[in-house]
Symmetry: C2
Subunit: 337 residues, 2 copies
């Protein structure tokens, strides 16, 4: 059986079942945005540790032909900060493991680090070490972020209950359109540049995640790294529930609408299947909706209700404009598929 | 300026000077075996966090042609545990970032993880997550380990003082000979299998590191991952001192002596320049020598005194059997060189 016949999610599930550690010190391990480490190291501090790793590989996650190294460094860190954001945590430290070509210049290496550090300064995350290896082949960057949250308060993927409302932050699909702009080398316009910006320099929703976590409003949360179709499915699997999403409610930017009109494409395809928006998807119990709306007004938090959690037997459905419901689209990007 | 013109150490130094974070929460960052994270997360716990990352790349750090995947998994974790050992810490958790080929089988993936888990169980380290990417090109494994030590007690590379005695654990050079046995596909004998074992399944010196740390005997410590020639040089640079090593005192196994006699090679070359022994190198103040000798007897700790720390002006010297001193050999393996 080859890895390509299984696909990423089945692989991760397999690894979790066979090899995951459990114990009183590990509140959550494989299968959430970040691992939650309890008490072992800091039992008197009232905090849990969060840590996560993400790897970006040339030819899979980026192409040197159209991705500036500054952008690759930035985004590697952004993807990790987004995982901490999805747990409602505060990122603190990061480590960088690099596989680099001998032909890279020191200036290029500096650009890679400058991209990281620009974002690191913004979120006050400290570079605290790493490892560098020379590779003959695709270069890669594997980053690890350590963060913290109040004891027992990390927001898991597994807490959604039937009746909870589903929200997302920001707008969806812009990053996927931006990737197309970059890949196809489309002629630039202001709106295309803005889409490219969303692909190249996504803003991890750390502040939003903290606000939501501190107000106790959320039953489950995940970041949209692989697209709504994949990531909502993950929440449903981990929470053992179903869900319905209303197509008309999915927030999309005027930029995306304009871009897909020119291309005669369907913006909803980008919003549902496109990855790397790094927005948050969260579920909110009915009783917390009013406090959430107050928080949104108070903090100018942009969240949109897109559907609700159903019992598992209802499956995962999309309610279209004409009122009919259909099966939710297949997953977004998947390694090994 | 290309990375290959600078070499790994100069690169790391450059990154440290340009990009390293500092602050009250980061006791030690780039440039030691592991970063030491103070108080930020666990200020009431009396502990410091240690964390470290190591990356192994196909074609550089291992070859699938002669390295079983079980061994690669084992060694990736061993290299990281060795870094925690060199700080005198206890490893607790690990994360695994993988870049794998689609053609790998699930059985091969399992072997990789089984290698890790065999060692993880032995040292009670918990697998707590990771990330997997498909790569077209060399596969790689980037691992991060989180550990802990008593507050303010991590053993740095920077604490060596003139007059301190230099010790190493175990014997040196076996792993380099084992690599040759594997690479050249030499006919196996019992002694060659044992050398291969030292290359494939090194034992990280976690217990030894803990003993030395808890007894307050050590002024500086590092693990021998790149070879004595590189790693002693690192201690001297970080501590701003010189050193002399007595060639006759360097501990070498009968296996290595026998192997190099057959090959008409010089065992000292393997012991000084060969990497991946994952033994500890430590410096001990004169006043602590007697307590150290008692500890060695009490705990059956195998340490050998190989030289002493000198003022920086003395440089880094090797005292040969004939009594003459010469410049210490150049560094061992180096990426980008």
């Amino acid at each position: 059986m080859k890895l390509s016949q299984w696909g990423e999610l089945k692989l991760v599930d397999h690894i979790r079942r066979r090899f995951a550690s459990a114990g009183p010190y590990l509140a959550a391990g494989i299968g959430d945005d970040a691992a939650v480490l309890k008490s072992a190291i800091h039992h008197k501090s009232g905090k849990d540790l969060l840590w996560t790793t993400d790897v970006l590989v040339e030819g899979v996650d980026f192409e040197l032909a159209y991705c500036p190294l500054h952008q690759i460094g930035y985004k590697a860190l952004a993807a990790n900060l987004s995982d901490i954001a999805a747990m409602g945590g505060i990122p603190r430290f990061f480590l960088v493991a690099l596989g680099l070509s001998r032909d890279l210049t020191v200036r290029q290496l500096d650009l890679l680090y400058e991209g990281m550090m620009d974002l690191a300064h913004e979120f006050e995350v400290k570079l605290s070490g790493g490892d560098i290896s020379a590779v003959q082949g695709p270069i890669f960057i594997a980053m690890t972020v350590l963060g913290e949250t109040e004891r027992g308060r990390a927001l898991m993927r597994s807490g959604a209950k039937p009746g909870d409302q589903i929200f997302v932050s920001g707008t969806l699909g812009d990053a996927a359109a931006g990737l197309e702009v970059a890949k196809l080398g489309l002629r630039m316009s202001t709106s295309r540049l803005l889409l490219l910006q969303r692909q190249f320099y996504p803003v991890p929703r750390v502040k939003e995640g903290r606000l939501l976590s501190m107000r106790h409003l959320v039953s489950a949360m995940i970041d949209l790294s692989d697209g709504l179709a994949s990531d909502l499915r993950r929440v449903c699997e981990e929470s053992n529930v179903g869900a319905v999403v209303e197509a008309d409610a999915v927030p999309m930017s005027p930029l995306l609408i304009q871009y897909t009109r020119q291309k005669r494409g369907n913006p909803l395809d980008y919003a549902l299947k496109g990855g790397e928006d790094f927005e948050l998807l969260l579920t909110v119990p009915q009783a917390k909706i009013n406090p959430l709306i107050r928080l949104m007004k108070e903090k100018r938090l942009r969240l949109t209700q897109i559907g609700q959690i159903l019992p598992k037997t209802s499956g995962l459905r999309l309610k279209k404009t004409n009122g009919k419901t259909v099966a939710f689209p297949k997953r977004g990007y998947e390694h090994f598929a």
